[in-house]
Symmetry: C2
Subunit: 503 residues, 2 copies
Amino acid sequence: MKEKKHQEPRGKGTEQAGKEVRKEKESAESQGLTAKKENFAEWYPQVVLKAGLADYSAVKGCMIIKPLGYSLWENIQDYFNPRIRAFGVENVYFPLFIPESFFKKEAEHAAGFKPEVAWVQGDLDADGGQGERLAIRPTSETVMYDSYSKWIRSWRDLPLRCNQWCNVVRWETKATRLFLRTREFLWQEGHCVYSTKEECDAETRRYLEEYQKLCEEILAIPVLAGKKTDSEKFAGAFYTTSIEAIMPDGKVLQMGTSHNLGQDFAKAFGISFLDKQGGKQLPWQNSWGVSTRLIGAIAMVHGDDKGLVLPPKIARNKVVIVPIIFKGKEKEVMKRAQELTGQLSSFGALLDAREEYTAGWKFNEYELRGTPLRIEIGPRDVEAGQVVLVRRDTGQKEIVKDKEIGEKVAQTLEDIQKSLLEKARRFLDSRITKARNFKELEKAIGEGKLAFAEWCGSEKCEKQVKEKTGAKSVNMPFKQQAGKDCAVCGKKAQFQVYFGKSY
Amino acid sequence: MKEKKHQEPRGKGTEQAGKEVRKEKESAESQGLTAKKENFAEWYPQVVLKAGLADYSAVKGCMIIKPLGYSLWENIQDYFNPRIRAFGVENVYFPLFIPESFFKKEAEHAAGFKPEVAWVQGDLDADGGQGERLAIRPTSETVMYDSYSKWIRSWRDLPLRCNQWCNVVRWETKATRLFLRTREFLWQEGHCVYSTKEECDAETRRYLEEYQKLCEEILAIPVLAGKKTDSEKFAGAFYTTSIEAIMPDGKVLQMGTSHNLGQDFAKAFGISFLDKQGGKQLPWQNSWGVSTRLIGAIAMVHGDDKGLVLPPKIARNKVVIVPIIFKGKEKEVMKRAQELTGQLSSFGALLDAREEYTAGWKFNEYELRGTPLRIEIGPRDVEAGQVVLVRRDTGQKEIVKDKEIGEKVAQTLEDIQKSLLEKARRFLDSRITKARNFKELEKAIGEGKLAFAEWCGSEKCEKQVKEKTGAKSVNMPFKQQAGKDCAVCGKKAQFQVYFGKSY
């Protein structure tokens, strides 16, 4: 990004990229936050709570998504829904409850989810005995595919593409981490059925590409797209593809997955179709999902010691207007602030005209909440026909003439979006190291990096990496280059794979 | 509504208002539907299933909302969200699970919901004993107000206005009725907190008015707005207001409720605030909701023997374009159909170009699905520079010149919207009878009508109506006229109230 030289007429001064930890600490303390670099694990829940993204609930393991957090989720929905609708995906809603017998039908799937299913006792049997237990959905393959087996008759019914936005429950026993690990979370799950493997492969990949676009173009988070190793694939899948992002602590966060489920679910649930020649065929299926975990990633990747930093494209209120009120000049300032709010309504401009809070309090508040751009208007600005623009990401201030505001706001928001992505990409790049042997692999992981290594494809080598370094295989890039030697065992390599510690 | 005379160049002919049951039966049979007037109770689930609004699930009491049904719910959300956001309401998400202890805090609320709560066993206690049970939310007052007690400190935090779109579970034991009575359903629930009773009263009413607008202006369903009697109010409410619509069988369907909860929940959950003078005060609260039941109402009120009839404002695809293909002329027709689809994209125009179905099959299909307007284009139409427009509500056909299409489509959709509301309003009006005494009340109810009666206000008289006629009090109009004698006991009347049988 080209750094623009901005005038700095007042106040706090620009934060320099190379500022010291001590300075950061001061900044963090003014918001009551731990410094991000000093203790990331402490900083994260603090920023989530203080910015008003989410709150803990009295219900163990569950979270409350507060207005700011939920607005990000709604914006993700508003972006994603038209994208998938254009591909013929239709939104639906399937029941929260899944009969235990459905769960058992696909053995690998059942085994994979069993430990974290919450159960409800169903109705009594006709003869008064205990009825079947109902699972609270941890994912909806089984309940959906039972219906698909009734809906699909012939090739005319394919492809069938459904998606739902819903809550799912996975009875975690590890400590709760807001947005990252909670017993209930929100997500979307797409479930499609195709006549052929080729179609299924292509669309499994297409939805992953959509996730990548969402993350990179909207959330400004660069990701690594690839295929999971067999030991890390979804329970019951033929193969799993994923996008993965790196967090500031060097750990990898899985941002989204798209699974080619093969034909096993179709077999288990009796889904078949008559082809054009009247022959009975087994279809191919995929499923794909992203969750509210993305909101946690936005906070982690872009946030700083003052709070959240929201990429403009995902922020509902991209601009906040703070009038600087002096006695006797209230009217002019408020009038101009209101005009400007109207003029900038396409950016979701928010006017904070509350009299019970000082301008300084408001500056802190919207910095915490990550509002991309702040506009200050005081009496002298009104007289001079100007406003002061303050970027959240860099803290840079700039005086802008009234007639240039619209264009300047649009351009600055674009700059911020671009700059956040570039910064995150530089960080990702700096955290990937090629590891040609086990020593280099251990070193990379030890330094909190991702090791990009050649691998023979054996589960044994994956296990060894896990046991010795704590790192798991992340994924294998779709474009693989001809391999040499496995970085673990030295035998002929089959794949290139990222290893890293993960959430 | 002014009936417009349309040209009728081809095909089936207009259905006349006064058509005989025999004709209806034929029409219904062609879609595999029972005639609506002949057996409404049979017709309703048939139309819901065949039109693809919803499906039964293998899970007892639960339903699947299919793409068409879910698109109506999304359109309701898209309409309603900006309306309430303009009032300062913010969307949030609270946990699905509610600790049993929360439920017990407000005694009336607990008693009201107890019979229909589904429970999950929570974690074990620290000493290994049975932990607290968790309710699957039947409504979220208790889990939200526990948080509100932490969020609200001073008058600056008020009003607090949150809303959530979510699933709720009420363990019904009566027979499942798609959209009307299911164990799980989707809804929105708004929960606000105010400093004063006056604000709370005013906003409780305002959200009800929003529901009325939604029903009348968008869903084309006229409603009766009023206050519930004490015996029919929400469990734990100070008072309940509601909007109620009449269904073709004369039964009343509650379409939405807005409750002034008074201060009892605030007391039970310890919600208080410091006023401007620093004094501790109890706030006032309201809650308000509409559910996917509205989708059932749309089907019931507007549907006919050919299937659904969707009001244009709630239909995602307001127009379907069906090319009439003859060999050798495919290209011209398809080209024109595609152009037109683009031209009418703001109406969500859908082009059904599938070759595996005949035009006749498609006509039936979109009639079943209630698409407001059908456009037929054949080779002769392309030559003549025209299309054929067919209204779903009346079946009227009209030839329209190419250059007039945009305007004509907009105008016809408006006509349909208006006409559906007027038709429904005439029906509602025809089903309300003043009942001056018990005999008249019994007669009205016996005829499947709503009895508008004066009432002394005693629960005893309400009970008597219920026992003798099966009708409950529906609600009391906000504008009450000076009363004379109670239609039940003859004593001095205090209120005017509607009595009717209800869902």
